[in-house]
Amino acid sequence: MIHITHLTKQFSRNQPPAVKNLDLEINDGEIMGFAGLNGAGKTTTIRIVSGIIFPTSGKVLVNGKDIVKEKVAASKHIGWVPELPNFEPTGKSVQLLKYYAGFYGIPPKEAEARAETLLKKFNIWDARRRPLKDYSQGMKKRFSIAAAMMGDPDNFLFDETLNGLDPEGVKNMRDFMLSLRKDGKAVFLSSHILSELENVADRIAVIKRGEIVKVIERSDLSNLGEISLKIVLQKVDENAISMLGQYGIPEKSGNEIVLRNLNIPSGEVYKVSETLFKAGYRVISISTESEGLEDYFLELVGSGK
């Protein structure tokens, strides 16, 4: 569990604080999304929680331990996956993981076995003889996750971890995070793309200029992130609109109807086209859109005046 209270970080006097009076709680068995535009303060927050930089004021408790005052005890429970993984370029994976393991008091033999399991799990075991500088970006990312798991921490900080992965990588990573949640871990995952978080996060904290502007709960999320249907008919009439009313709130523009607030699960969208078809309408196209979430996000964080 991570408990952040009144966290402020000011890098220099003549700059506004990068993080301002931030309060957040990430519970065990919860995936907390952390969304914000570039420079909003996501990385800064994560680096404070991981103990790399010091807060200007405020407090971070990791499993009840203060990351500044009880650094060693708090860090035992933190697994940090950086935005840009940075490891000893000439280092080799097993040897480096063993080095990290030593800080947790894991004996070398056990550390070696653990390193092997993790490297295999993340599919980089075969690259163990190569120096880390020869790893691809994705491999480095996977290695840094293995490194974060070495001490078997209760809390994970993922900084833009989904960013830059191929579709298969994104899917694997999501499954992995869901498995962490199932194991009761607290997961903090930042991204500057809200929709990246929507399928995985239980809650999403939105940060703007260092301040949390909104914590979107799962229930809000399903409303917001709800897909809308864009239906193009050959001919749009009042009957069609009223008929679509049973599935949500239709809105007409030309021969296009946008159906919002869908009250059927996304898997049953076919029912809409079925209904139209049975009523004798010619459906030219029907497509799902989730623009509502992004709109909402941009509204929240947009630079606006």
């Binding site: 991981s50 103990g51 790399i52 930089i53 010091f54 650094k71 060693v72 005890a73 860090s75 035992k76 933190i78 940090w80 950086p82 840009l84 993984p85 940075n86 490891f87 000893e88 370029p89 080095y99 990290y100 030593g102 800080f103 947790y104 008091g105 840094s144 490194a147 001490g151």
Partner: protein, 503 residues
């Protein structure tokens, strides 16, 4: 604490540490070996040398042969096999071979019954006994009544009396407990086996370029009356003023007389070149560059590089604090230097031992160690400070190299310019103290400060006139220790507190 010890152990067993220790040890031992083997006259330690003091007396029935063998310290060598021959010079094919082994007192005595032929020469051949080489091969003429001879060996002179069938040897020997002062060995043998009669030993330290030998006894310093022995080592009461000077030693009969019985016409019996002085001199030039460079590089490789590249971040998120990672790296570096310097000094000491026959005195050992250890730690401490402020590897390394140029290569020139600009007169004592104080601002001068303290002398190495007693310019044990503590702790503590409190 466990995290600190864990990272310290890893630092100490890391690739850089091993490389640095090997580099320092190999460079030091290599340089010492090269320096010693070039300047060395003999690479055989004195206790592995064997000198034969031969005496052959012709009797009515043949020849009495008495060989005494002593090592380079003048101590008897027992169990040495000697091969020698009596040679008839007029019919050189006529040879009588003698073979034997020295007894517990270093003597080999034998009687040869040879009444025919006139054997006039006694010759030796190098022999070998485990670990000991006889270092000469020589021959002497056989003493008969009313004959005399001299000059058998380098640094060993004999004189055989014309009237009572006796032989005197005088030679220079090393002193087993001091590499500074050499002893002289006097050996006596006579046909009737008696001990040496009384004689008076005189010596003279030659400080003018030419003298005529022998020097009359009244112009020499009297050591004392000696006699009643067969062989004995004496140490003359020479002091530093006899350093590297030629000393003439003469043994006169008690009655006085113009002619000495035996004379050592030229020998350097006092030489301040101790193992320590030698090592100190050998290391001064290479270490002037090596130590600060390694100090700078060690800080860069142990810490600065990782901090600037962000590699340190992946360690800091572990259960450890910034302060402890700093300490383990810093102390790991300091301990590597300590280990490297001790090993380098100890091994060089053994190399030099073969030349001087003495080991480093503890004052030299610690002054060399302390001087360079402080310098290395100070330079690495400065780079630890730089690492707290600069965010790029190139910046840190570049500053380190800049520091080397300014604080090592050009420091004395820069200080000279400052002194000139301030119109400081370096010929007066206050100017000298000012120059010394400015020099001390760079840790690169600390090893020489220690040398000034140890030698008690500050100033030009050439000519006593241009220097000052060290204490008169403020170089005292207390002031040098204070400067050393400053360089050991101030950069380290400053960077430690910065490392702990900064992002």
């Amino acid at each position: 604490m466990r995290d600190f010890i864990y990272d310290l152990r890893r630092t100490l067993t890391g690739k850089f540490t091993i490389t640095m220790i090997v580099l320092i040890v190999l460079a030091t031992v290599g340089i010492s070996y090269a320096a010693v083997s070039v300047s060395s006259v003999s690479s055989v330690p004195p206790n592995s040398e064997a000198y034969v003091y031969p005496a052959v007396f012709k009797t009515a029935y043949g020849y009495n042969v008495t060989d005494f063998v002593a090592n380079g310290y003048g101590q008897p060598v027992s169990g040495l096999k000697l091969d020698s021959s009596l040679i008839n010079e007029t019919a050189s094919t006529q040879m009588y071979n003698i073979s034997g082994t020295t007894n517990g007192h270093g003597y080999f005595n034998t009687t040869v019954a040879l009444t025919e032929g006139n054997f006039t020469t006694y010759g030796y051949f190098s022999s070998y006994i485990s670990g000991i080489n006889t270092t000469f091969e020589s021959s002497i003429s056989i003493l008969k009544k009313n004959e005399s001879q001299s000059g058998i060996l380098p640094n060993m002179y004999s004189w055989q009396s014309t009237n009572n069938l006796s032989v005197y040897f005088i030679g220079k020997v090393a002193n087993p407990s001091s590499a500074t002062i050499s002893g002289i060995e006097i050996y006596y043998a006579s046909a009737n086996g008696s001990a040496m009669p009384s004689g008076t030993l005189y010596y003279y330290v030659q400080n003018t370029s030419s003298i005529s030998l022998p020097i009359p006894s009244k112009e020499m310093l009297k050591f004392g009356t000696i006699g009643g022995f067969y062989n004995k080592v004496f140490t003359l009461p020479l002091n530093a003023s006899a350093n590297e000077m030629n000393v003439v030693v003469e043994l006169f009969p008690p009655s006085g007389g113009a002619q000495p019985l035996v004379m050592l016409p030229s020998a350097t019996l006092y030489s301040a070149t101790s193992s320590g002085a030698l090592l100190e001199a050998i290391l001064q030039v290479p270490y002037e560059f090596l130590i600060p460079i390694l100090g700078i590089f060690s800080a860069y490789f142990y810490y600065g590089k990782d901090k600037a590249s962000g590699v340190l971040e992946s360690i800091i998120t572990r259960p450890v604090t910034k302060g402890r990672i700093f300490l383990s790296r810093f102390l790991g570096g300091a301990m590597s230097f300590l280990i490297a310097l001790i090993m380098a000094e100890a091994l060089s000491d053994l190399v030099i031992y073969r030349y001087t026959g003495s080991l480093l005195s503890s004052s030299y050992f610690f002054s060399i160690l302390g001087g360079y250890l402080v310098e290395a730690i100070a330079f690495s401490g400065l780079i630890y400070i730089v690492s707290q402020f600069l965010k790029s590897q190139g910046g840190i390394l570049g500053t380190g190299i800049g520091l080397f140029f300014v604080m090592v290569l050009f420091w004395s020139d820069l200080m000279a310019i400052i002194l000139y600009a301030l119109h400081v007169n370096s010929a007066v004592k206050s100017g000298v103290i000012m120059a010394l104080a400015l020099d001390t601002i760079s840790p690169s001068t600390f090893p020489s400060l220690v040398i000034y303290l140890r030698s008690g002398f500050y100033g030009s190495a050439f000519g006593v006139g241009s220097g000052y007693p060290a204490s008169s310019v403020g170089i005292t044990l207390v002031s040098v220790i204070l400067v050393g503590l400053f360089w050991l702790f101030i950069p380290a503590l400053a960077s430690f507190f910065l490392a702990r409190s900064r992002d």
